[in-house]
């Protein structure tokens, strides 16, 4: 024992610089990207269903544009495409919390939480990763729509804005899904979210149908639906003469919504730890 007590103090840990939020976000995003690159089928699987909707709905409802009062242009596939992109983003992001659940089931989550890893970066990395998945999948959907005959007057600028709206929508609902994962620690809750929240949000919007043709209350409710904000911003931007005030207004709302949810979800780490 004397040998131990007389020994000079333990060698000090090397004084590494305190890493920034951005570096941690990059490292953790790369970790998730490595996993998806190893199983690229995952991206394809998530895009199959939206493509089926796109082609089936596109064929099923071709005459919708002929209904008197339809204000969404004269090609239903062109009207539908931004709606399908956003549906894909919404449905995909509802499952974002799955990666947290997996990390909790293993000791990965607790290891990160007992290290100097930034909580904000743990949240941001999954949002960035999900948004990047949405980006790739949206490009596939747009490509298939183009092959199906859809033409977008908004051009490259319009497409970039659509992609931005889809990525913001993804980030916001991924944050919600992550928060649910941290609070409930249970995959079943994510199933609940995808069933109880995403389906109503999808139908209370103009994703599939011009809301000026639906019941008045639907159009009214849709105005407060973040999913609708993304659909409107994307569809406007793809059009020939976008209402830029509407595009930027809805993008702004979406950005604020995303920031608030990301902040709330990051706070959920505290609740997770309090009951650890």
């Amino acid at each position: 024992m004397t040998a131990l007590t007389n020994r000079p103090t333990v060698a000090a840990a090397p004084a590494y610089a305190r890493p920034s939020f951005f570096r941690h976000t990059a490292y953790l995003t790369l970790r998730q990207l490595r996993a998806v690159v190893r199983i690229p089928a995952f991206i394809v699987m998530n895009v199959v269903q939206p493509l089926i909707w796109l082609l089936l709905f596109g064929q099923l409802f071709t005459s919708v544009v002929d209904i008197p009062g339809f204000t969404g242009g004269d090609n239903y596939l062109e009207f539908l495409t931004p709606g399908i992109v956003m549906m894909m983003a919404l449905f995909g992001s509802a499952w974002a919390g799955t990666s947290y659940i997996q990390d909790m089931d293993r000791g990965v989550m607790d290891r990160f939480l007992t290290s100097p890893t930034s909580r904000g970066a743990m949240m941001a990395a999954t949002l960035v990763y999900q948004a990047l998945l949405t980006l790739v999948q949206s490009l596939i959907v747009l490509g298939v729509a183009w092959l199906g005959g859809a033409r977008f007057d908004g051009g490259l600028g319009g497409i970039l804005i659509l992609l931005l709206a889809a990525m913001l929508l993804t980030a916001s609902f991924s944050a919600l899904s992550n928060a649910a994962a941290l609070l409930a620690r249970n995959q079943n809750v994510l199933i609940g979210i995808s069933q109880l929240i995403t389906i109503p949000l999808m139908f209370l919007s103009s994703a599939l149908m011009d809301t000026s043709l639906s019941a008045d209350w639907v159009a009214e409710v849709a105005r407060f639906n973040p999913f609708e904000w993304a659909v409107v911003a994307g569809r406007e931007a793809l059009g020939a003469s976008p209402d830029w005030a509407s595009v930027w207004g809805h993008l702004g709302l979406l950005a604020v919504f995303t920031a608030v949810l990301a902040w709330v979800a990051t706070r959920a780490f505290r609740v997770y730890q309090r009951s650890a």
Partner: protein, 343 residues
């Protein structure tokens, strides 16, 4: 980073932690005034059955959870007041696998280093060193999901060592390993504590593991430390070693009993057939004296053995129930479930 003034690498003082058990039930007291401290550079063992509060203690000391009351410090840092500083000083190896099965071994290590602020280059070189040392270099570029249980566990420990922590938490490092992998892990932990000169807090429910690895240990039962000391101290607190002397002939028994009585210090002396059993303090030293005395009297001894009390005896003496019984008991299972649910 400075150590605490009294040179203690880890201090747990009067920790209390309760978990809600749901409606209408009283909260469960997982820790009930748990107290211990650990000197720098030692392996300290927390020994106890599942549900005794070992993991809860590790979670509080590693900043994962917070105590309801009491003080916990790591390398002199109060974990409740400065969790960020404490996290830089510790390595954490959970009961569960802490590596990402989708990443390779080297990717897991480098990421852990990067998250601790190491440059990518420094992290790569440290990862290479650890993979070499844990005999994982051949599997470095394979995904962890292809590793055996023993390999994955060694990688977990390597991940905990990446940033050269001052204190390493090893929560049941060998649970679920086969005997061969367990022996290998023990050798690694022994080497590591020697070479890295760091403090290790080891929790285990294997008596053998605590006996072999820990230089000091605390026996935990129902959220409290029931006794603490070196394994030798704890065992010598018992009423001595068991001495068994076997004779060639039963006729000399009376002579032997007389000799023991003259030498003094023998208790619970029992004659069974041609054998005499007794308990004595410091059996190793007492035995040669007995043999010399019997030899002088011309008594021929067939065999003589001394057995040290086991930690199981210590556990039994301090908790009133045997270790194995607690493990099998249903009350322990209920507590285990709760601790797992909380985990």
């Amino acid at each position: 980073m400075a150590a605490s003034p009294d040179g203690m690498a880890l201090v747990a003082a009067d920790l209390v932690k309760t978990y809600s058990q749901g409606r209408g039930k009283p909260p469960l007291r997982a820790l009930d005034g748990l107290t211990f401290q650990t000197e720098e550079g030692t392996v300290f063992g927390l020994l106890g059955p599942n549900g005794a509060g070992k993991s809860t203690t590790v979670k509080i000391l590693s900043t994962l959870s917070r105590a309801d009351s009491g003080i916990a410090t790591v390398a002199g840092i109060d974990v409740a007041k400065h969790p960020g500083r404490a996290r830089s000083a510790i390595g954490f190896v959970d009961q569960k696998q802490v590596s990402d099965p989708m990443d390779t071994g080297v990717e897991n290590l480098v990421l852990a280093g990067q998250l601790h602020g190491m440059s990518t280059r420094a992290a790569r070189s440290r990862a290479g060193e650890l993979l070499e040392r844990f005999a994982l270099a051949g599997a470095a570029r394979r995904q962890v999901k292809t590793y055996s249980g023993g390999m994955a566990r060694k990688l977990d420990v390597a991940i905990g060592l990446m940033h050269r922590p001052q204190v390493l938490f090893l929560d049941e490092p060998t649970t679920g390993l086969d005997p061969e992998a367990r022996a290998e892990m023990w050798a690694e932990i022994e080497r590591m504590s020697r070479e890295e000169r760091m403090t290790v807090l080891l929790t285990t429910h294997y008596l053998e593991e605590a006996d072999r690895l820990a230089s000091r240990l605390a026996i935990v039962d129902a959220g409290r430390v029931v006794t603490e000391g070196t394994p030798e101290q704890l065992k010598s607190e018992l009423r001595g070693d068991a001495v068994v002397i076997e004779l060639h002939e039963a006729s000399v028994i009376a002579q032997v009993l007389e000799s023991l009585d003259r030498l003094g210090g023998f208790r619970e002396v029992v004659a069974e057939g041609r054998a005499v059993r007794a308990r004595v303090d410091g059996g190793g030293a007492a035995l040669p004296l007995v043999l010399a005395a019997l030899d002088a009297e011309g008594v021929s001894v067939a065999s003589a053995t001394v057995s040290r009390p086991s930690l199981d005896d210590v556990y039994l003496a301090h908790t009133g129930h045997s270790f194995a019984a607690v493990h099998a008991g249903s009350s322990a299972d209920a507590r285990t479930d709760l601790e797992e649910a909380a985990a």
